[in-house]
Amino acid sequence: MRRVNPEVTHRAASVGLWLSAGLALAVLAYIIGLVLVRGLPAVTPHFLLASPERMGRAGGIFPTIVGTLFVTTVALLVATPLGVGTAIYLTEYARIGRLAAVIRFGAECLAGVPSIIFGLFGFIFFVITLQLGWSVLSGGLTLAVMVLPTIMRTAEEAIKAVPASYREVSYSMGATTWQTVTRVVVPAALPGIVTGIVLAVGRSVGETAATLFTAGASLRLPTSLLSPTRTMAVHFYILAREGLSETHAYGTAAVLVVLILAINTLANWLMLRFRAKTQ
């Protein structure tokens, strides 16, 4: 048997690894490029600010932008205090112990639950059992449960990264735990905490399966927490699936993708700045 020179194998493998990373990047660039090239020409001020006509074949997407905004806001208003509160409890009060382990395990599992299960749960719990109906509130609460682990984990990491000396100084001056948390730890961890919230916005904005059966699919402008609404992602899904209008589907997709890229870039930038500061 002829032995291949290990140097040659190493060269070949390096080329292979560069190519695989190149392939992954090419796919990413292709998807984003395709959506932007075909979609952006459709995005005009009229498209953003007008109501849809004929089920979305013509007109704009304004009500779905408002719907997305409302649903996401509800989700964040509920999930942020819960997620950050949990992170504070885990890092500053419980630290170790069986309860903390159970809480972390619960959050890990929640993070792995598929969005369609959140949809089923939101439908039977918020829409039917609590009688909130298909509404901004039902959709927002369902999304809140979904993004809770994201906010919680990022906040926990951020709070853990605050140097112990900060706390020691605070305690040595006679501060209580809560004073230390609110005046020293949370301000120092704030950029990290905000990163988690921004990531949660990104997930909420792009979600379809969890909002389809909880927020509904109404194209009317939502006027209260109990009005049904249609998010941008759901609108895009319906346009694409029913084949109503390819131009409008691409236009909606472009708005969605630009928004999410902007949100994620912001999160990345915040995270980098936070790391640079704490290290």
């Binding site: 990373a21 990413l28 959506v35 409890y89 979600e207």
Partner: protein, 284 residues
Amino acid sequence: MKAKEWLIERALLLMALSAVTSLALIAIFVLAQGLPIMLREGLGSFLLGHRWAPTKHAFGILPMMVGSTCVTLGALALGGPLGVACSVFLAEVAPRRVADVVRPAIQLLAGIPSVVFGFVGITVLVPLIRNHIGGPGLSVLAAAIILGVMILPTVISISQDAIEAVPRTYKEAALALGCTPWQAITRVILPAARPGITAALVLGMGRAIGETMAVIMVIGNAVKIPHSLLDPARTLTGSIAMEMGYASGEHREALFATGVVLFVFIMVLNTIVNLRLGRRREAS
């Protein structure tokens, strides 16, 4: 002062229980809706029944279980090796400046909504398969390719963490013994990082099996067991999302029962990952 601190601690504890409570509520409500019909029909005939005609009282989800399994394995076969290769590239091969650009770029993939993947799937991938490989295009293959791409960020970020957690001294020792960097990677670093890489693949599997919107757009959703990669099929998630809008009564219960199967499967995967990653953390 003491009383206030005590109150705050209790309040924070209540908040901290929110994740566990949510998980419990999800389990209870989905099970309460789904279990009765599973038990009434018999677990065997529900899980292994071939016929799904919920309006005619036939509730067999075997075709969907096979569909979900096929697309998940296909996604792993495509996205798994590519993802691990990318993570090796980022952790061991790429110059720092390249890695600093590639890593966040790949994480952007994770942020793209699944409906966008599905749409690119129907407008580009499905016609490509129909015209060049054959079949109707809407197929297991199309779903596997789309899912293979979608699981990349999960697989890459977790296995990169696992590779970077391997002590530098392992690699240095291997290089000092005269290994090429590639030999050090395949014989020393990858075996040492194996639990983490397995966890990455299992999590990727969880993402693939739970993915809904991208899959329904490209898989055709026919309720029959696929005989080839080019056949259309339907997944468990797809079944729920397609029919939930108009289902009622027993039909709705059967969809919740489908959700129960999915939920149980995901929880098993999650537990495996937690045990694996937990062990690694203790070891390091």
